[in-house]
């Protein structure tokens, strides 16, 4: 038989008519603005007449310090007697203390030789020789800098925190991944938790548990579990529908489907979730030193409070190395699993046998270490870097802070930035009538997002006023806006350049990788060294922290622009600049908006932590609240930070990101 010619396909017009009902449901920007203007015309005169002045009217504030103080007192009074504490929170806190202590003692018992050998072997098994070498360097550096004990304390806390976070996250994610209702309930909560600064979690936890390891661990779990939950749920829900359908068509039960298809298909997301959880846990474990977590973070905190840059650096180096080691190990393990390859290992030694061999080798090293009599790091084997670093810093203070010919000094820059940018911005924001601020927030959020996001943003902004922290919030906001502007200008410029030059991107990538893995806390150290204390260094730290993400998203967004469109533009004779301006940037708009969104969230997180180095405002209130035990002050500031985070996220949140999920 010869082939039959395929028939002509009758053209069926399935596309809905242009415009359609969708266009009617989505008001155009002009209409939105007109509606807001109308609303403003009615409400503003009323507001202006009723409450005079630009500040949030006193009549609209609620003083919560009284009730909060009472709550604090009640908790402190009842901590040892109330059933809730005795039978639930008490046990919880005891379990945490015991398990962290247990891991810590185990690490000490293994001795530095055992821990180093075990950690290196583990990294080698999971991620290969290069990462194993890096792990070895990490242990040697942390011991060499005299930070062995704090490193072990941090590690012990990390082990327990990651275990609990991953478990809680995976369970939540499982529930949300399998049940539509749970997903709809959890998704907005998780999305929101994702954008809140770590600082905001410290106070409520400290209030309930008091300062100490349980509070630190709980704060860490609250902060680090959401990414695991989020990615587990997304992974389970994002499973290839055709595979799930095929599995159903073969008669699989729900459980079979979950175990043989859904979970294995979500492996990549699960590992990515674990990776993010680990990184966030580390970030939080370090910050949680403010509520009583011992370890490396505590050393940084102590050093920063006395502006001892050298000591801070000695503690920060192990933190940075630990972050890189943990990130690379989980990432490499994930890639390996995803590729379906077999992990490295001598032939014949696979699976449980290999693990047993690793454990045995570690034990041998540990015993050898014990027999040689050195359990903690050998006393002579440390290198004191605090003094030389501080000497260098003194030299910088003398020579670079001011009076450098032509360019001026770093302190001069900081001062000028404060005088010319931060102060006017803060004064302007404070001088702007409060209803004006609300209107601007509403307009921005509605233009970029939906009416839901706008409403959330306005309500959150109003909550700040109601809590009576309008002024410090405007101060924080001014720092955020200044940092954001600098971040975006730098980030977009570098991102555009990196998208255009493969070589530059290849050079940039490892730098970005390292910068993105470092905990927020660490960024404060170099800026303090360069700019002393004040608001300018807080802004600088925020810029440095947010820059990598902005650069990366911009580059990726530009790269992902449909090559056919770029090619078409070129074929029409467009110059490179024309292509960039008329094709690439418009098509990469969603990515650029996402970059703004991420930038603002990251900037806020660090600006708030900047309260530790003289950034003032809300962050300072949290620090003071924690330091002086005035939990009401800190708690109000914490809530204001949460609100500010919500406002900033919603105002910059593109509609696309919400299109898959509901709720604001």
């Amino acid at each position: 038989m010869s082939t039959l010619a395929p028939p002509p396909r009758p053209v069926v017009d399935l596309a809905p008519p242009a415009g359609g009902p969708r266009a009617l449901l989505r008001p155009r920007p002009v209409h939105k603005l007109a509606l807001l203007a109308l609303l403003a015309a009615v409400l503003v005169p009323v507001a202006a007449l009723t409450w005079s002045g630009a500040q949030w009217p006193a009549g609209l504030t609620v003083d919560v310090s009284g009730p909060l103080g009472d709550t604090t007192d009640w908790i402190i009074d009842n901590r040892d007697s109330h059933p809730l504490f005795v039978y639930f929170l008490g046990h919880l806190s005891n379990a945490v203390v015991l398990s962290v202590r247990g891991v810590y003692l185990l690490l000490l018992a293994l001795g530095w030789i055992g821990v180093t050998a075990g950690g290196t072997l583990l990294a080698w098994r999971l991620a290969g020789a290069r990462i194993a070498a890096l792990t070895l360097v990490f242990f040697l550096v942390s011991g060499g800098l005299g930070m062995w004990v704090p490193t072990m304390q941090t590690l012990a806390l990390m082990v327990v925190a990651v275990f609990v976070s991953a478990l809680v996250g995976a369970l939540l994610g499982l529930a949300a991944g399998l049940s539509e209702r749970t997903f709809r309930l959890l998704r907005p909560v998780l999305d929101t938790m994702q954008v809140l600064p770590a600082f905001a979690y410290l106070l409520p936890v400290a209030l309930v548990f008091g300062n100490g390891v349980p509070a630190a661990l709980l704060a860490t779990v609250i902060y680090a579990a959401p990414p695991m939950a989020r990615l587990t749920a997304l992974g389970l829900r994002g499973a290839d529908a055709t595979v799930i359908e095929a599995v159903s068509s073969l008669g699989a039960t729900g459980r079979q489907k979950l175990l043989t298809a859904r979970l294995p298909l979500a492996r990549k997301e699960l590992l990515l979730g674990l990776n993010q959880t680990i990184m966030m846990a580390l970030s939080m474990v370090v910050i949680a030193s403010m509520i009583g977590a011992a370890g490396l973070g505590d050393r940084v905190y102590q050093a920063l409070s006395t502006v001892d840059v050298g000591a801070a650096l000695a503690a920060a180096l192990p933190i940075v190395l630990l972050a890189i080691v943990m990130d690379r190990t989980t990432a490499a393990a994930g890639e390996r699993l995803g590729a379906g390859g077999t992990p490295p290992g001598p032939g014949g030694l696979r699976g449980p046998l290999l693990w047993a061999a690793l454990a045995a080798v570690t034990a041998v090293f540990a015993v050898a270490g014990r027999l040689s009599g050195s359990r903690v790091w050998p006393t002579g084997g440390t290198l004191e870097i605090a003094r030389p670093v501080n000497d260098f810093k003194e030299w910088m203070v003398d020579h670079l802070y001011s009076g450098v010919p032509v360019v001026g000094g770093t302190a001069d820059w900081a001062g000028r930035f404060t005088d010319w940018v931060l102060n006017p911005l803060r004064d302007g924001l404070t001088a702007l009538p409060w209803y004006g601020t609300l209107l601007v927030v509403a307009a921005l959020a509605w233009l970029i997002g939906t009416w839901r996001t706008a409403l959330t943003a306005v309500l959150a902004m109003a909550a700040i006023g109601v809590l009576g922290v309008w002024e410090p919030s405007m101060n924080t906001l001014s720092q955020v806006l200044a940092a954001l502007a600098v971040t975006l200008v730098l980030g977009f410029a570098v991102g555009v350049f990196a998208a255009g030059s493969r070589r530059f991107e290849a050079l940039l990538r490892p730098v970005l990788d390292v910068l993105q893995t470092m905990p927020q806390f660490v960024y404060l150290i170099p800026v303090v060294a360069l700019f002393a204390v004040g608001r300018a260094p807080a802004v600088a730290a925020a810029v440095v922290y947010a820059l990598p993400a902005v650069i990366r998203i911009t580059t990726q967004g530009l790269r992902q622009v449909d090559p056919a469109a770029v090619e078409a533009a070129r074929s029409l004779g467009a110059t490179r600049w024309q292509t960039l301006r008329q094709v690439q940037l418009p098509l990469a708009r969603p990515a650029l908006l996402l970059a703004v969104n991420q930038g603002v969230v990251l900037v806020l997180a660090v600006v708030v932590i900047g309260g530790l180095v003289g950034g003032g405002a809300l962050g300072y209130d949290v620090v003071t609240g924690l330091a002086t035990g005035d939990l009401a002050l800190g708690l109000v500031a914490g809530v204001a930070i949460v609100c500010l985070g919500l406002v900033l996220d919603r105002v910059t949140q593109p509609t696309e990101r919400r299109s898959t999920g509901k709720g604001a």
Partner: protein, 393 residues
């Protein structure tokens, strides 16, 4: 319980199922001689019996089939009035044991939804659905699972393979779901892998295979459970034309060897004509014509079908039964003889050689004769009453 007994009886039945009547060389013959029509059941066992089946997506879908005023609306009107989309509308047909039943239509015509309704991967909105006389719509979860495990397997357009498993474990997956032991299922799976021509690739992963190979894995997975019916949902649409051709021949071969009942969904007319014993042509959720390839091509039910089959080389689908005219005096006794199922493309040669008329003979009786003019009329589409003027003009 019911599923197991059904599976067992299916095996017993399949032994005495007559193999497809086409000759080995004629992949697309579609049994032109046997002329099973769409409506006749002619005593053959019915595997799937579908009656007035509806599937409506959207809010309060149940009301649509019941409400005559809504049921008659066009797709666009229905969406506007109710927000619902009727993917399958009032569809009835029987699938006979051992036949290849093709459902064909353009994308959006509801054919994929229809095939999913058969095992309730998509829950039908209303209507009757029976397999081997058992009411599928009344089955509880366990019975339905048994049906999917043992009696009907499906092959998907996008394969639906598990990327983290080897080829062998993918093929064995259906048996694993049934609870079969590792060694036994691997042994069976290995035999299936060989059957579809993938020997040596057992330990590969789906990502390392070409599209055609992946679909062979999908086919082996479906065959491994030894189902009574194979359901194909556009299985070869995502493949290159040459690979597609290979796979179609593979299906023809499997059908010839095993005589398994197949329901085959496609949007490709040539594929439908090549594989189908009978073809149901769907448009907007309805079956517009149900018949043998010859009936579809030779007697299109309406302009839509006619438009659809316009470019089909008719001499390769239609038989002399359609082209012949009554014998005039003397013609019935002389000249070469052809069977009525002979394709026109083959008859042309005989007519040219004889130089005159050729008789169409069945069981020694002369049904009629064909000559140049008759054959050309069919090829030139002049045998149809409708568009004759058009074509002439």
């Amino acid at each position: 319980m019911t599923g197991t007994s059904g599976g067992a009886s299916a095996e017993a039945k399949s032994e005495n199922t007559p193999a497809k009547s086409g000759t080995p060389g004629q992949a697309a013959s579609a049994a032109p001689g046997s002329a099973t029509t769409g409506s006749a059941t002619d005593g053959r066992e019915v595997v799937f019996s579908v009656r007035e089946l509806w599937k409506v997506f959207g809010p309060k879908a149940e009301r649509i089939p019941q409400d005559a005023s809504l049921a008659e609306l066009s797709a666009a009107e229905l969406r506007e009035r109710t927000g619902c989309t009727a993917a399958v509308r009032d569809v009835s047909f029987d699938v006979h044991k051992g036949e290849v039943f093709v459902v064909m239509g353009l994308s959006g015509s509801g054919k994929s939804t229809l095939v999913r309704c058969l095992t309730r991967l998509v829950e039908p909105t209303s209507g009757g659905l029976a397999m081997d006389g058992e009411d599928v719509r009344a089955m509880d979860r366990t019975a339905l699972r048994e049906l999917r495990r043992h009696r009907a397997s499906m092959v998907f357009q996008h394969f639906g393979l598990l990327p983290h498993r080897t080829v062998l474990d993918n093929v064995a997956y259906g048996l694993e779901i049934q609870g079969m032991g590792k060694a036994e299922r691997r042994e069976k799976a290995a035999a299936m892998v060989a059957k579809v021509g993938l020997d040596g690739l057992e330990q590969r992963r789906p990502g390392q295979l070409s599209g055609g190979q992946q679909q062979r894995v999908g086919l082996a997975r479906a065959l491994a459970t030894d189902p009574e019916v194979l359901l194909f949902d556009e299985p070869f649409s995502a493949l290159d034309p040459l690979i597609r051709r290979d796979m179609q021949e593979e299906v023809v071969r499997l059908h010839r060897e095993e005589g398994r009942t197949m329901v085959f969904i496609t949007h490709d007319l040539s594929e439908a004509l090549r594989l189908g014993d009978r073809i149901a042509l769907m448009r907007d959720g309805r079956i517009v014509q149900l018949g043998t390839p010859e009936e579809i091509v030779g007697s299109p039910a309406d302009d839509y079908v006619r438009d659809f089959v316009r470019d089909v080389p008719r001499e390769q689908v239609l038989s002399v039964r359609r082209a012949m005219r009554p014998a005039r005096e003397g013609e019935a006794e002389q000249g070469p003889a052809l069977r009525p199922g002979t394709l026109i493309s083959e008859a042309i040669e005989a007519v040219v050689r004889s130089g005159g008329t050729v008789r169409v003979v069945e069981d020694g009786r002369c049904l009629g004769v064909v000559d140049h003019a008759c054959l050309l009329d069919v090829v030139a589409r002049l045998d149809q009453p409708g568009p004759r003027d058009e074509v002439a003009a």
